[in-house]
């Protein structure tokens, strides 16, 4: 690195930190000026049309449009430009067909409007679930992009440092929204819009000046530098064959609903949604962090639940509201031992399934280890296994029963404070089954970043997300039942910890399937959990009062 590079590095770092400091300043200012719900959700209704327009532009001018489109133009020339026009035209759809009607109806979001004519609850549930699911996948890409960009700006080389910047960016976003409310968010977006537009105009003028303001020369030079024939003509990307051409027409049409979906995404933030955004970011952080660090990031949901509850529902009562209560009753024992019972039943079910068979020599498990570990380490593990006085299966039970309610519970507590702490109480009005379904639907896709990286379902990372969601939806009622009976979110953490420690048993001594068709998170587990749910429904109908928050 030479001297001028160093200078440029210093300059970008200083500029970057200045922007961060400015936005943090705005957030702190906004949080001081925010009193009451109308201020928090709607900035006290003091944002003018022009300010709001700027803020929405800031939202639109995401990394996707800036980096994605300029990258596409650099690679595919004219076809990159062609692609960007779809977004522009889609905006007219939102303007002409959605915005006016929404405004005249006096409602703020699509869900508000739909909820007037239809049943409130299902409409709101659908809107919340779709917002969350879209946001998780959207955030995933955005956060990775933002982290990579910041790492580049700051000259971070090591992977650990890059991961740390991504986590830092996520925390900064949570800070903006939770502390600044609508006022802070709007002003941060306005600053972003103005900076980006001013920067773009500046760069455009400088580049044009380089070519004496002759657009034709600029294009000709781009053509020759690209080294591609027909760089300025349509067809480099979408014109290769008739399928690609049709693809583009359908893409052009797909951008139309995308314009409408953007409006839906402008729903004013509610604490619940902010929490969920926090959960999403926590989940992403898990996916990005190394295994050892994952434990730290499981506390994302806990952090979000704690901050939101503390801020909106009274200081001092946070622990009480989230039911962080250490007063063990017999349901704590259920939380501790039920996962073992379920694992053993899953094992039984596995052996009854035609494609699975007993594998006391653990050949399938060893095969998986051999594929994943360096040979010498594998041999070491194998040698140690031969020295064991009892079968490793029993050792895992003992180890799981010890680690489940202690070490694993501590890690699981970070998640549980979000799921069976905050959401449990917030969704209690929906009734037992609906709230556990909704929690399961959030809890499952939250694992997506991990699973897409090959955890749990190394052979089917994409389908694995779906499987994991079904698994979480089926496990959710059982967790919720035990947690409600125990009257403490700590019991849920014990149960979650035991699940994490003991469900591996179902994979140890079985062979014959793949990750979708064996084990607790595969078909045998899903079938068993389904049966447990039927049993639970039966118990609840037999006069046991349904647990409520």
């Amino acid at each position: 690195m030479n001297v001028s590079d160093d200078n440029a590095q210093t300059l970008t770092t200083v500029l970057f930190l200045a922007v961060v400091a400015l936005t943090i300043g705005i957030t702190i200012w906004a949080s001081r000026n925010t009193k009451g719900a109308a201020d928090y959700y709607a900035a006290g209704r003091n944002i003018s049309g022009f300010q709001n327009g700027l803020a929405i532009s800031g939202d639109y001018m995401s990394a996707a449009s800036f980096l994605g489109i300029s990258g596409a133009i650099a690679l595919y020339g004219y076809d990159g430009f062609l692609y960007s026009i779809g977004f522009l035209v889609a905006w007219l759809i939102a303007l002409l067909l959605v915005a006016e009607l929404l405004r005249n109806s006096g409602r703020y979001t699509m869900a508000d409007q739909l909820a007037y004519r239809m049943k409130q609850r299902p409409v709101r549930q659908a809107a919340a679930v779709s917002t969350v699911v879209v946001s998780i996948f959207y955030l995933l890409a955005q956060m990775v992009g933002a982290g990579a960009l910041v790492a580049l700006l700051l000259g971070a080389d090591s992977q650990a440092l890059k991961n740390l910047t991504i986590v830092g960016v996520g925390l900064l976003m949570i800070f903006y929204v939770t502390f600044g409310g609508m006022k802070g968010t709007t002003w941060v977006q306005i600053v972003k819009a103005v900076l980006l537009m001013a920067g773009t105009v500046l760069i455009t003028v400088l580049v044009l000046a380089e070519f004496g303001f002759n657009l034709s020369d600029l294009l000709g030079s781009a053509q020759s530098e690209s080294g591609k024939e027909g760089f300025l003509d349509p067809g480099l990307r979408y014109g290769t064959d008739s399928t690609a051409k049709l693809d583009f027409v359908s893409l052009g049409l797909a951008l139309v609903p995308a314009g409408i979906a953007t409006i839906l995404a402008f729903a004013p933030p509610r604490p619940d949604l902010i929490l969920v955004a926090g959960l999403g970011i926590g989940g992403i952080a898990i996916g990005l962090a190394a295994q050892g660090l994952a434990v730290v990031f499981m506390f994302g949901p806990a952090l979000a639940a704690w901050v939101v509850t503390r801020r909106f529902e009274g200081r001092g009562r946070t622990r009480e509201l989230l039911e962080i209560r250490f007063r063990p009753n017999r349901w704590w024992a259920v939380a501790w031992l039920l996962p073992l019972a379920i694992s053993l039943v899953i094992l039984g079910v596995s052996l009854a399934l035609p494609w699975l068979s007993l594998d006391p020599g653990m050949s399938a498990l060893l095969e998986r280890f051999r594929a994943q570990l360096p040979p010498e380490q594998f041999e070491q593990i194998r040698a140690r296994m031969d020295l064991l006085p009892v079968h490793p299966f029993f050792l895992t039970i003992v180890q799981g029963l010890l680690a489940g309610p202690t070490l694993n519970a501590l890690a699981a507590f970070g998640e549980e404070l979000g799921w069976r702490g905050f959401l449990f109480r917030k969704l209690a009005p929906l009734g037992f089954w609906r709230s556990s379904l909704l929690i399961g639907l959030l809890w499952g896709p939250w694992h997506a970043p991990l699973i897409l990286q090959g955890h749990n379902y190394p052979q089917h990372p994409v389908l694995g997300v779906l499987w994991m969601t079904v698994f979480c939806v089926l496990l959710s009622p059982l967790m919720q039942w035990v947690r409600a009976r125990a009257g403490s979110v700590l019991a849920a953490a014990v149960m979650h910890g035991s699940v994490n420690a003991l469900f591996a048993l179902t994979l140890m001594v079985v062979k014959g399937g793949d990750d979708l068709t064996m084990g607790a998170t595969g078909l045998p587990g899903l079938l068993t959990l389904l049966a447990f749910n039927v049993g639970l429904a039966f118990v609840m109908r037999r006069g046991s009062t349904p647990p409520a928050a």
Binding site: L82, V89, L96, L97, Q120, L215, S216, Q223, D233
Partner: protein, 112 residues
């Protein structure tokens, strides 16, 4: 946040829905928005289709390295901003007065 409409409010909505003003508002709005949507969609799809299948025409040079494709694309920007401008003028002149009148009427009815 849950919004419960009282019967009085609901009746006010129903009355406004049947009023001449509301019918006129809807007619003015659809009379503008629908033809305009069809027009710009046709204009945009023509551009997309030309880019894919009329490449010879699109590659025609206009001045120097500037070809028809680039001009056509930039015209999409011009038309989008023009439509937005025309629409905001139209809404301010034709739609907002009626909408404001209806809003006042609604508030009077429910506060009676």
């Amino acid at each position: 946040v849950a919004e419960k409409l009282s019967p009085a409010r609901h009746d006010a909505y129903e009355r406004i829905h049947a009023s001449d003003d509301f019918v006129a508002l809807k007619k003015a709005y659809t009379g503008f928005a629908f033809p305009m949507t069809v027009a710009f969609m046709v204009w945009y799809l023509t551009y997309v289709i030309c880019s894919n299948w009329a490449t010879g025409f699109m590659e025609t040079k206009v001045i120097g390295n500037i070809n028809v494709a680039l001009v056509f694309g930039l015209l999409q920007f011009v038309s989008t901003f023009l439509i937005a401008y025309i629409y905001s003028r139209f809404a301010a002149k034709k739609l907002d007065p009626i909408a404001d009148r209806l809003q006042r009427q609604y508030e009077e009815e429910i506060n009676r």
